[in-house]
Amino acid sequence: MLEFRRRTLLQSAAVAPLAGLLGSSLFPQRAMADDSVLYGELDPQAQRGGSLTVGSLIEPPSMDIYHQAGEAVNFIAVLMYQTLVYADPSGTAHPLLAESWEISPDATTYTFNLRQGVTFHTGEPFEAEDVKYSLDYQRNPENGTIGARDFADIAQVDVLDTHVVRVTLQGPNSAFLITLAHRNASPIPRGWYDRPNARALLNSTSVGTGPFRLAEFQPNSYIRMERNPDYWQPGLPHLDEIIVNFIPNSAGMLVAVRNGRVDMAVLVRPQDALQLEGEEGLTVQRSISLNQKSLDLDCTYGPLTDERVRQAIALLIDRDAVMQAGIAGYGQVLGTMVPGMQDRWGVPLDQLPNQTVDVDLARTLLTEAGHADGFDIDLTTIIGYEWMEPAALALVEQLAAGGIRANINRVDLGTWLSNFRSRQMGFTLNDWGTPPDPNILFYRHFHKQPEGADFRNWNDDIASDLLDRGRAALTFEERRALYDAFQLRLAESVPTVMMFGADHLIVVSNRVKNHRMHPIGWHFGLVKTWLEA
């Protein structure tokens, strides 16, 4: 049975007009906790107990949440570590470990009143000093943390009281609350990293405040989390235990799901969803994501230096056909925004340039750019990303219509990452996601250096100016207008072609109840999931 969670789709649709009606305020300048919105809806019929086994194709390299990036860490870590702020599926910030907050009129000072009675898994009480330690450690570039850049605009963190902390920014940052919702901003006990062997210890114990705590991490096999008996939300979580079982290949996963060896699994291959649909005792859930599968163009790489060539490439690509080839249509065609944010932040596709196939115009542009006979170019794919191979084959064919002769160049993730980070990506397929905020989505990737990373060497003054203004803007309308302008610039100049976003495909056993996947793909929903006895 295939279940498409329309609710998740519609939630984001509902937000845009609402934000308009509320008018002006970008974020609530005062916010009070409403625990019912945290981690999705509560099922009144929920039963307590049981052990849930989740099959996962990916494995976290380590559980050191301050130093280890990656989705494999994110999706598990959110069950053990909590942040001051929770970003709901629509991208709205809600108090989580904060009970409430106040923002100064110039949006540079955030005062958080923290929840009382919360304890870390270590047994220590959660207080303002811990928040200060955690943010100070994370933002100190000397510490080699993954959030150093995210929190670089924090000027200082002050403890005002045992449970009150004030964060002062160097300037307004409209995405600050959503930035705080990332797991790398999770408070940990003060002084944690001063302990000997602190990083290694995080692979055998968790030090967050979350509903589950780490019981066991067997590399190459599984992670076992058990219910935190001191968790602060009454009645939660429902499950006694979650085991994340690392199964390194899709075939093994498929068989394990069918035979009840795992209760739930994230599917990455559309053919697996097709095979499991209609299977007795199983439900394939499909929901919208914040993912994008894009074609990135290094703007200093050979013929791609010429904007007309990049526009021609965009005009040759039939995004829907590439999506059909890559993920059998289990996704959404994109313009310049990820699917889960399209309704709230995206410019409608028919208002963007270079979105529909126009081979004649593409050929004209290539001729103007001096490539009447086309050119040869390497198209890079990453080994292990199964959608890339068929998508690349489709792209090769489509590009050939304009005379562009693309040769597929397959590299391993380590090599690809190394090239990407050193801004030598060439012409490559990419697969990435974002927390639900346009500043976080665009700033690092597309702002010129040194403020942004500008991985694609776009170095675009107009875009960078729009991104700076978008970051500083204080009202939704102002932000929306600026990010609309940015997206038009993105579509016009084509440093990337955001082709499509894959939907989340989760297969669950029918004994798994009230499971909802957050668009970001992290397992927040398991806090309120329960198992039928």
């Binding site: 390299p61 080699g144 959030g147 199964i247 390194p248 980070r421």
Partner: protein, 313 residues
């Protein structure tokens, strides 16, 4: 004998050091490092420098190698960069999984393959021989991963059963352990049974044509006794070499099977460590494979000398 072992061990040590240099150089030649893996698309330059210092990656490569070698000769293989756990422990537990699987495959294949080879070798050209030959050709030509996948899907389809996905050590439960290893053993055994049968069959046919066997037969020695005492004894020497080679081959081949069946063995440890650029684990795991290969060769040689007196002089 002691001198022989000492000489072999000294030679092995030189091999190990040379191999470790090659492995070290090859691993470091792979683009990217653990810091890039940790920070992904995030992070800043200052932080990267800090982390590289932390892992000693700021040192020249030869110094990094010497530091590693210095630890290794004292039995300290270092600490996994991604997990912070001692490499020796990680490699040992993974090695035991692969070793147990390989050993079981080696023994089970021999127990089935050698008698089959003896039987069909004795009656080569017969109907049974043709059937076994056909099986051998198919088994030898079929990739192990394909057999593994077919078994996984086939058994699931027919019996609605698949092996548990969380590995249990034999020290905890032999029954659970064997339940998990059943299909992986079968996947690997097809090829090895065929290899044994083919090898033994060939030697039996050759032996049966030898003068001394023909003479024994003329003396009225029963065929059964002839096979067991003369023929089998004579093929023990090449068979022991063959088993050594097969064992190393299986140990190498389990990588694919471990991946299909999700076993936490050496292959999977190596692949994950390489993906994370966790160099100490990669080096430790490869060292374990090398030591295993050298040890098996040494055991084969010793066995060789034990059963063939000519080699003792």
């Amino acid at each position: 004998m002691v001198r022989f072992v000492a000489r072999r061990l000294a030679a092995s040590l030189v091999t190990l050091i040379l191999a470790s240099i090659v492995v070290f150089a090859m691993v470091r030649a792979v683009p990217g490092d653990i810091v890039e893996q940790m920070l992904g698309q995030l992070g800043g330059t200052e932080g990267e420098a800090t982390l590289r210092r932390f892992f000693g990656l700021d040192q020249p490569i030869y110094l990094q190698y010497l530091a590693w070698l210095g630890g290794a000769v004292q039995g300290d293989l270092g600490v996994s960069w991604r997990l912070g756990r001692p490499v020796a422990g990680l490699v040992t537990s993974a090695f035991l999984v692969s070793f147990q699987l390989s050993l079981l495959v080696l023994v089970i294949s021999a127990v089935i393959g050698v008698p089959v080879g003896l039987i069909v070798g004795r009656r080569s050209g017969g109907a049974l021989d043709s059937i076994v030959q056909s099986f051998n050709v198919v088994a030898l030509a079929t990739p192990v991963f394909w057999i593994g996948l077919m078994l996984l899907f086939g058994v699931s389809e027919v019996f609605s059963w698949s092996p548990p996905t969380i590995y249990v050590s034999p020290f905890r439960s032999v029954a659970d352990n064997l339940t998990i290893l059943l299909l992986p053993i079968l996947s690997l055994a097809f090829l090895q049974i065929a290899a044994y049968a083919q090898f033994v069959r060939q030697h039996v046919i050759e032996a049966l044509g030898q003068e001394y066997v023909r003479a024994a037969r003329a003396r009225g020695v029963p065929m059964r006794r002839l096979l067991m005492t003369h023929v089998l004894r004579n093929i023990l020497v090449p068979l022991s070499t063959f088993m050594g080679l097969i064992f190393i081959q299986i140990l190498g081949g389990v990588v694919v099977i471990e991946s299909i069946f999700g076993l936490p063995g050496l292959g999977r440890l190596l692949v994950n460590a390489l993906n994370a650029r966790d160099f100490p684990v990669v080096q430790g795991a490869l060292l374990a494979v090398l030591v295993a290969a050298i040890t098996v060769n040494l055991i084969v040689d010793l066995f060789y000398r034990a059963i063939d007196p000519r080699l003792r002089t």
